[in-house]
């Protein structure tokens, strides 16, 4: 199975990267950008074929390693 994981900063947590992207796009002449946010996107190829099991598995990995739950949220899909 393929897990597609999105890790994003929690609401209210400073996102210096997003801010810098926003500014640079503006400086490059792109207008109409109200905000930019940067997160991570992670793909895992899993041997597991049972959906429920994979879900529990990936959730565990996200909490324990992939996301820093102090400042980040995560979500994922399986296919």
């Amino acid at each position: 199975m393929l897990a597609r994981i999105h890790v994003t900063l929690k609401n209210g947590v400073l996102d210096p990267q997003g801010k810098a992207i926003e500014n640079t796009l503006q400086n490059m002449g792109f207008s109409g950008i109200d905000a930019a946010r940067q997160g991570k996107y992670i793909e895992l190829d899993l041997a597991e074929t049972d959906r429920a099991k994979a879900e529990a598995h990936v959730d565990d990995m996200c909490r324990k390693l992939i996301a820093n739950t102090v400042i980040e949220n995560y979500s994922f899909t399986l296919e």
Binding site: L9, K10, G12, V13, L14, V70, I71
Partner: protein
């Protein structure tokens, strides 16, 4: 007014703000009415341990803070000393313990950011960072993760702002399992006629906010740093701030650019408790009032309340008072550096901090009360009972004992750490990490600053008074060992819960020892920071008064380093080795015992021996020197050999048992290596100076040998053990 500010003040809310009933009553008296929610928040941070030093102030006052070369002692953002030629060194150390435990990367990173701001606020260009770290025991489940995150965070911030991290110290002890210590120090250089202070002046002058926008970060960070950890600390997680070193770098350049003009009357960084504590401090120091219009505060998030804006600990922000009419020029500088700039208020003659928001007054508090009415506690204390002398037995296998110590967590090379720090940027680091003290040239000159951070917490625990003395003396010795004249110290006093008399006794004892050492060594305290309540579920850390020492040398090309320079050089020991194995690393690590008295510190002897060694370096007689500390003579000898790849053969005599001669941690000692001719000269000069110098042997070969082979170790094996421990330990850390 917005809804949240109408929150009715209940006893629960008062307690949540860390204020006692008695403290609350004092607030009501001072204000002549009940505070509103915003005002309560402001009082709570101003009166927190972190901002008010309520448990420690009484004792801190007793520390020596003066010397002819001290330009500014404690009380400002950082201490300032004169280093000659119209220049000053500005430095301070600060803790970021609690945030680093919760989120090691960001906690440590923002710690570095905060201490940098304390230093450049005063007009200095930061030139060096140091970091003093304490972690739990190596096999504790969290240690690797915390160490990995903290080191990455310190590097992540310091490397990006372009200030070299040139040294530090790293300890492991079970007492830090639930309370790691992350103490960061910054040293900067300024012209003595261009030093900036925080006292506001001039009624009507504009109050200006610069730097990053304000978000809801770290609200209540200051009160968090003043309470013990319990299970529900997890709940406080969202108070973690994220650092933006890129913005900090811009802020440094923009502030220094503005400081080169004459526009600034006063400037203060927004540290713990952000906008509140910075404006209160500026107003209080200047004896004026502040009126701030919170609508003008640059905001990152929508719908922020006055409470949130006042208590936010968003990073990379500064507050300034400008001369009238200089706003546009200042604004142009900050805009060039792509930073926010906003006039948010002005100075008044009311003596009050007045906050307006949406056209209404949302806070109106007497500044004097916020600062001077803060409670000061003379907490009850009991001195740590004096311990008895113990005798520590010999090891079964002395070669193994040496290898285990040098190749173990406490004495192994910290290379894995410092290689993650850019320790060379600014191209003035002439002594890199790994020696006794870091040496950084004063840019454009041959003159240099030497910097070292030290404390031996296990000594402080066993005998706070001697431990306090020892911490100060060790930094002094480390600066001396590279050839610098020690000038002054900063400190970061990390202790447990001050409401416990035994902990308060450790605090008082350490401070008394520090004070005596500073006086004896002419080495005053010019800045510092106190971190109390380092305690989890009632178990406190070892008392850890970290000391950061700064010295100066006129000609850095004469600097000494630990590495042997050639084969066939004589190895000399300065000072006398006594039977002082109590609380030594050997006793604890090899014998598994932590009893007895730590080494005593003879400050007069310390000074005599140190002055002698420094003179030899200054007059170019000596360029190879190492002070003796943890692990004793054999550890220092091995360091010198490993640093050079040249072995040594020594004889330490038989007056003491071999293990005592090698592992005793008697203070005021140094190892020197010089050619035979200089050795003779040094020995005769020593007699004249009344300093004990003993020739122990010679450099050469590829082994470390003591007393005809009683200790006999391959330098290759020793180096492998010494360099190997940390990388092996940290492999696969996450």
């Amino acid at each position: 007014m917005t809804k949240i500010d109408d929150t009715v003040i209940t006893p629960e809310i008062v307690a949540e703000h860390g204020l006692s009933e008695e403290e609350y009553a004092r607030i009501v008296t001072a204000m002549g009415r009940e505070p509103n929610y915003t005002e309560l928040g402001i009082y709570s941070v101003m009166w927190s341990e972190h901002c008010s030093y309520k448990s420690s102030r009484f004792h801190l006052k007793k520390l020596p803070t003066e010397a002819p070369w001290v330009i500014c002692g404690p009380g400002e953002n950082a201490g300032v000393i004169d280093i000659g030629d119209g220049q000053a060194a500005i430095f301070k150390m600060e803790s970021h313990n609690h945030p680093s435990y919760i989120e090691p990367y960001q906690g440590a990173a923002t710690g570095v950011g905060g201490i940098l701001r304390d230093v450049f606020t005063m007009g200095a260009r930061p030139v060096a960072n140091m970091n003093a770290l304490r972690f739990g025991e190596p096999d504790h489940a969290k240690t690797k993760h915390l160490l990995s995150g903290v080191v990455a965070g310190i590097g992540g911030y310091g490397n990006c702002v372009g200030v070299p991290t040139v040294g530090g110290e790293t300890n492991f002890d079970a007492s830090y399992n639930g309370n790691i210590l992350v103490n960061a120090m910054t040293v900067g250089i300024a012209d003595t006629d261009k030093i900036f202070y925080c006292a506001a002046a001039g009624v009507g002058n504009p109050v200006v906010y610069v730097g990053s926008k304000t978000g809801r970060d770290g609200i209540h960070g200051a009160t968090m740093a003043s309470t013990e950890f319990t299970e529900d600390t997890e709940e406080k997680r969202p108070t973690v701030q994220v650092g933006d070193p890129f913005t900090e770098k811009l802020l440094i350049e923009a502030c220094l650019e503005l400081m080169a003009t004459d526009a600034i009357i006063a400037i203060q960084d927004m540290g713990a408790a952000g906008l509140t504590s910075s404006s209160v401090e500026m107003a209080s120091k200047g004896g004026v009032g502040f009126e701030l219009n919170l609508d003008h505060v640059p905001q990152r998030e929508k719908d922020m309340t006055p409470y949130e804006m006042c208590l936010s600990e968003s990073q990379e922000r500064m507050l300034m008072v400008l001369k009238p009419g200089r706003e546009d020029m200042a604004k142009a500088i900050f805009e060039k550096w792509e930073l926010d700039f906003a006039v948010i208020g002005e100075i008044t003659d009311t003596g009050k901090l007045t906050l307006t928001f949406g056209g209404e007054i949302v806070g109106d508090m007497p500044i004097a009360s916020l600062v001077e009415d803060a409670p000061e506690y003379e907490r009850p204390f009991v001195y740590t009972p004096k311990r008895a002398v113990v005798s520590v037995p010999a090891p079964d296998d002395i070669n193994k004992a040496v290898t285990d110590l040098l190749g173990g967590p406490h004495l192994c090379s910290r290379r894995w750490i410092w290689e993650q720090y850019d320790h060379m940027v600014l191209a003035d680091t002439v002594q890199r990490p790994g020696g006794d003290a870091a040496v950084v040239r004063v840019h454009g000159t041959e003159k240099a600053l030497a910097i070292s951070t030290d404390v031996t917490p296990r000594y402080c625990f066993a005998d706070p008074y001697e431990g306090g003395k020892q911490a100060v003396a060790e930094t002094w010795r480390n600066l001396t060992a590279v050839g610098a004249k020690p000038l002054a110290i900063t400190n970061c006093l990390n202790f447990g819960n001050p409401e416990r008399p035994d902990i308060m006794g450790q605090f008082v004892g350490c401070l008394e020892g520090m004070g005596d050492a500073c006086r004896a060594l002419d080495y005053p305290i010019v800045s510092g920071n106190v971190s109390l309540y380092n305690e989890t579920n009632g178990s406190g850390i070892l008392p850890t008064p970290a000391i950061g020492g700064v010295g100066v040398m006129a000609d850095s090309s004469k600097m000494a380093t630990v590495a042997f320079k050639a084969e066939g050089h004589s190895i000399l020991l300065v000072g006398e080795t006594k039977d002082e194995l109590g609380m030594s690393l050997y006793q604890r690590e090899i014998m598994g015992d932590e009893s007895g008295l730590p080494p005593s510190v003879d400050l007069l002897l310390e000074r005599k021996n140190g002055d002698f060694v420094r003179r030899l370096i200054e007059n170019s007689t000596l360029d190879t020197c190492h002070d003796l500390s943890d692990g004793g003579l054999i550890a220092a000898l091995a360091d010198m050999a490993m640093a050079s790849g040249i072995g040594a053969t020594v004889d330490v005599g038989t007056a003491l048992p071999l293990h005592t001669a090698l592992f005793s941690e008697t203070q005021a000692r140094y190892l020197l290596a010089v050619d035979a001719e200089a050795a003779e000269r040094i020995q005769s000069e020593a007699i004249a100076a009344g300093v004990l110098v003993t020739k122990l042997g010679e450099t050469g070969g590829n082994r470390v040998r003591v007393n005809g082979g009683a200790v006999d170790l391959s330098l290759t094996d020793l180096t492998e053990a010494h360099e190997g421990w940390l990388p092996t330990f940290m492999a696969n850390a996450s």
